[in-house]
Each structure stands twice: as structure tokens, then as C-alpha cells.
Symmetry: C2
Subunit: 213 residues, 2 copies
């Protein structure tokens, strides 16, 4: 029996599906392929996940749960807003290094409109935004300004994810070696960029609101 | 004859394919579907594009050409580095508003490893990086530090694109109305975030290099 077969079928299906979705995209992977790759009967996929969309739902649930936990950990430890952002980015980078395929699948499928996932996405994203908003507001942004939070929050996430999406390009064109030293510098750079950036936006908004009558 | 049929078959194929790729992802769209949607015989797709990958190649070529032109326009007009970044972000936002599907297809397919597109991607990305590097270096970053450019350059692109990728979320959760006022504020906010962010990174790097023996 291979190491693969020692794990529970439910987990094997999930892992095989994440790998296939990450490589080929959700839409172009069939349940047959997932069954073959995870060495289970195709009926097992229906039994555990009710099909392909059910697996994607499990992927998104795991992703959001871990992501929200990182957000809560960063916010709730009584740190300054600067420390919170630095801790958060370190945790996201560590998470992405250890779970690149899971994260890439969740990130890529986020904009895809599947009615079965709409409720889950709306709930989790609202939850994420709640925590993220609390953090960003501590920089002095207007509490009511959700429009601005919708510009700034996703920009932080996208900066970190982008690096993992274009790894082959960074490796080939920028000759990057993806080791601990690189990721330490990356986390520090993105945190510094974001922190100085948000402070700049806050200053701009305060200046603009002083100008208003 | 419908308005659709007034255009040349080659252009009709491209437009139908962009729409289908943007909605369903490149991998899950078939040539038959593109032929049907563009109202041409399937043989025409082979004739003009040598198949589905050829269409994606045309999409990437158009995207990169227009993108590099925006970069050159922003850099070459003798503006300050701050003005250049603001002009660049305004142009990218306008471009994305007018060509959302084209841009989303190019952005989504960028990490996908198709051997037929590797040479094109490497060439265009190197070209983009050349122009972008010139711009970012004017902020005072080390000329040799390509690693850092590979962190900062893509972060700018990702911040702008993210907003277009998650439009349904922004519309539903943040109640955003995508009008001129919104996009003016968005361009200004991202430019301010990026400019202050890069200046912060430069200051951090200078501080660190002074500490070295």
C-alpha cells in the first residue's frame, strides 16, 4: 500500500483535487480525473462531496477558515497597528509557502460565479472584511468609508498573492531563489510598502476633508 | 445581417474568444464553442489562429502591446516619478475599464504554463520589466536590486487588477457603484498608496545599507 493510500479517501480526494485545480483550473478538471488521481471509486466523490463543486466548496471553507484565523491572530494580540500588519503578512506568507496550491485555487476561483458557492463566499468575505476593517481603521480611516476599505484591503491581499502566482516568472526573469532569506525580505518589503502606503492615504484623506466646507 | 457579422471573421473570432475565456476560463472553452459564438466555420479558426492557443497568443500580444505603450507613455513624457506613477495608474484604470475581459484573460492565463506561449511571455515580460524598472529606480532603489523590483513592480499591477477581478464582491459587499467618481478616487488612492509605499521601502533599504559595515 502506498503512502497515498494510507490516508482517508475523503482527504485523498481533496488533496488530488486541489493539485489538479491548481494546475489546470477548476473548470477543466473532471470528477473522473479526480477519482483516478486519488485512487477512489467515482461514487465516493458523490458520497463525500456531492461532486466537483462540493470539493471546491471544501477548499474555500478551509482557505477562509485559516485565513480568518490569521487575521484574528494578528489583530487580537494587543499589538500596535504596525505590528499587527507585520505579523499578518508574515503569517500569510508562511501559509502561502506551505499551502500554495490550496491558496491559488481559492484565489483563482474567487471571481467565478457559481450559485452554489455564493452564500459561502458572501458570508466568509463579510467576516474577513469585518476583521480586516477593524485593523485598517486603526490607521485613522473613516469608519463609514467602506468604499475606501474595499480599495485598500484587497490591495494588501493581492500584493502577497501575486508573488506566488508568478513564481515561474520571478524565477526565470528575476533569478529569484525562493528561500527563507527571500521570503523574510519579501514580507518586510510588502509590510513596509503597505504601512507607508496606508499612512499616505490617511494623510491625503485628512487633507481633503479639511478642505471641504 | 447583424452588427456582429459586419466585422471581419478574424476580429469576430477574437472577440468571441475573449468573452468566453473571461467567463469560463481558457481551459474549459472549446474551438467549436468559439466558432458557434463568432458565427464562423471552425476551419476559419485554424486558418486565422492555428487553434485555441493561437487565439490566446493574440490576446496576450494585444494586451502586452497596449500595456507596454501605457508604460512608455507614462515614463517618456519628462514627468517627475510621482507624476509618472499617477499617469500610469490612470491609464491602466482607463484601459481596464474599457477592456476588462481582455485584461482579465491575460492576467488569469499569465501563470499557466503553455510551451507555445513561453517565448512570447518571456519577451514581453522582460520588456515590461525594463520600462517599469526604469520608473521604479527613479525612486532611488539600487540599480542592481532586481529581486526588489520583482517584489514592487508586480505589486502595483496586482493592486489595480484585483479591483477588477472582484467587482461582483465590491458591488455586493461594499455597495460600490462603478462610476467615474469611484474610479477617480480609486486611481488616486492606489497611486498614493504605492508612492508612499515605495518611498517607505527606499527609506528602509537606505537605513539598512547604512547599518552594514
Amino acid at each position: 500500500m502506498s503512502a497515498k493510500n494510507n490516508r482517508e479517501p475523503k482527504q485523498r480526494i481533496l488533496e488530488a483535487a486541489i493539485s489538479l485545480f491548481a494546475q489546470k483550473g477548476f473548470a477543466s478538471v473532471g470528477v473522473r480525473e479526480i477519482a483516478k488521481e486519488s485512487d477512489v471509486n467515482i461514487a465516493m466523490i458523490s458520497y463525500y462531496y456531492k461532486g466537483k463543486v462540493g470539493i471546491l466548496k471544501a477548499v474555500l471553507e478551509e482557505f477562509f477558515e485559516r485565513y480568518c484565523q490569521m487575521l484574528r491572530d494578528a489583530v487580537e494580540e494587543g499589538k500596535s497597528s504596525e505590528e499587527s500588519i507585520r505579523v499578518l503578512i508574515n503569517h500569510i506568507v508562511d501559509f502561502l509557502r506551505g499551502n500554495t496550491e490550496l491558496a491559488i485555487v481559492a484565489y483563482n476561483e474567487l471571481p467565478i460565479d457559481l450559485p452554489e458557492l455564493a452564500a459561502l463566499k458572501a458570508e466568509k468575505i463579510t467576516q474577513m472584511i469585518g476583521i480586516m476593517s477593524g485593523l485598517i481603521r486603526r490607521f485613522g480611516l473613516d469608519h463609514e468609508d467602506t468604499r475606501l476599505l474595499g480599495m485598500i484591503g484587497p490591495s494588501l491581499i493581492s500584493m502577497v498573492f501575486m508573488n506566488f502566482r508568478i513564481k515561474p516568472i520571478l524565477r526565470n526573469v528575476f533569478k529569484v531563489e525562493f528561500n527563507d532569506a527571500y521570503y523574510n525580505e519579501f514580507s518586510e518589503t510588502i509590510a513596509t510598502l503597505f504601512l507607508n502606503g496606508v499612512n499616505g492615504v490617511v494623510a491625503m484623506k485628512q487633507k481633503q476633508s479639511r478642505k471641504k466646507p
